[in-house]
Amino acid sequence: MKSGSNLEKVLKAGHFAFTGELGPPRGTDAEEVRKKAAFLKGNVDSVNITDNQTAMVRMASWAASLLIMQEGLEPNYQMVCRDRNRLAMQADILGAYALGIRNMLCLSGDHQQFGDHPSAKGVFDIDSMQLIYMVKKMRDESKFLGGGDIEEPPQMFIGAAANPFAEPFEWRVHRLAKKINAGVDFIQTQCIYNMDKFREWIKRANDMGLTEKVYILAGVTPMKSIGMAKYMKAKVPGMDVPDEIIKRLQGAEKGKVAAEGIKIACEQIEEFKELQGVAGVHLMAIEWEHKVPEIAELAKVLPRPVME
């Protein structure tokens, strides 16, 4: 065991993992975090706590992580490279571990231009790949990036993102291999809508032997509406939404579009359970946390395994 986190145990035992996501509030309301957490409890193995998602200021990821731990959930602490330099990052990692956080997701972060402080200075002292390398060095060598010794090093289960759809497609598996070499333990992918492309990506990852070295959790976000599907297709960089998805939603009866979105998601999850190389699903139902129990039920991923 690298970290002994619940997520690591679930994956190591060969269970099909199911993780969720929670966005901290744009304010100090702990109750809001607890409410969202209540919908996720018992339905997922670990919950990603986003870090200033879309470059909007929100409650710190470590703080919201702590709040959900108090509710009996396991956080997956996200950290972006946009907002901190290597000193602040390492300090936060030590603090997070001391507070009981055991999973981390290393991300570049959306460009600050997208958020509510568009002219903020983007730090990017290190990038997501180098962040993985740094967390691994802290864990496995008990060393800070600068070379100094760490007493009681943080034993994190190290995660990262992968986008199977971004061009150049040929490069995607190499980038995955690079993350594995840097030290990543698990991957959560970008939301998948283009299943053909995803199958091709995972096949290539299998062929290169990558899926034996890393746990891949397929990213799923159910579409709430036709507008959301169109927006994601047109406006969200790196998102691949085939027209068939939009057509299927358009074909749904009035008032049943969201249900159709959930149905599509559940069909995907069914396929992922059988797909070689996929170790689980990461469900990103942001601002739709109350639907998670229903989705988990319909996707037949309940009950979640209880690990020792």
Binding site: H111, D127, Q130, Y133, E167, P168, H174, A177, P237
Partner: protein, 226 residues
């Protein structure tokens, strides 16, 4: 070359409030080429200032002179005999020139008239694009001649990030993704192995003021020079 752009006129008017006799010093090198601070731009600014101040009933006496390079003592020397006749000096050179001027005449207020924006290439007349951030450790050999520090909006050394969008950067469809271009070029040259390995965290060399002394040369006391 170094490129710059004239400051907004209101900001210039604000800086010169209260000064009645001013010398405007242009620079004949980079900023002249990029049409920001050469002889012609000195004349234009002076004319505008003269008119604007007259309209305000607060005339200004403003002379202009353009020297070859403001970042070079040899040329600044021309100004030694002139500046003391003025209440202030304004410079149309890049930030280097402004500072060098201010350093030579510490008794006189010196104001910048341009905003220096960077090291850029001349795409066409009046159109310049940044290409270098002078990071002090060039990786262009590895990246197929495309600078990730300058051209990638996040300055990533292990790109592209997840936001890369069909060849464009996530910030804007009109901005090419540097890492997409790097991939394409290296692929065409059969050099993808350059970027297969992790590029370790960078030891930044631009975090303190830098001094550069070429091999065979040494630091000498400015007093001993011209």
């Amino acid at each position: 070359m170094i490129v710059a752009q004239r400051k907004p006129f209101d900001e210039i008017m604000d800086m010169l409030k209260g000064y009645k006799k001013v010398l405007n010093v242009g620079c004949g090198t980079c900023v002249a080429v990029c049409l920001a601070g050469g002889e012609k731009e000195v004349t234009v600014l002076n004319t505008e200032l003269d008119m604007a101040r007259k309209l305000k009933d607060d005339p200004i006496e403003i002379d202009g002179i353009t020297i070859e390079r403001q970042c070079d003592r040899e040329y600044l020397a021309e100004l030694d005999a002139k500046v003391d006749a003025y209440e202030a000096v304004v410079s149309m050179a890049c930030g280097v020139g402004v500072q060098f001027l201010a350093e030579r005449f510490p008794q006189i207020p010196v104001f910048p008239m341009v905003d220096t924006s960077g090291l850029a290439a001349n795409q066409a007349v009046g159109w310049y694009e940044e290409r270098c951030r002078s990071c002090n450790q060039c990786v262009l050999g590895m990246t197929g001649g495309i600078c990730p520090v300058t051209m990638c909006a996040k300055g990533l050394y292990n790109g592209p990030c997840g936001g890369t969008n069909q060849g464009s950067c996530e910030i804007n469809m009109d901005q090419p993704c540097a890492w997409y271009m790097i991939y394409e070029r290296l692929e065409r040259q059969g050099r993808l192995d350059n970027i297969l390995e992790l590029h370790k965290p960078v030891e930044w060399l631009d975090q303190t003021p830098r001094t550069l002394i070429q091999p065979g040369y040494k630091k000498i006391d400015p007093e001993d020079m011209v």
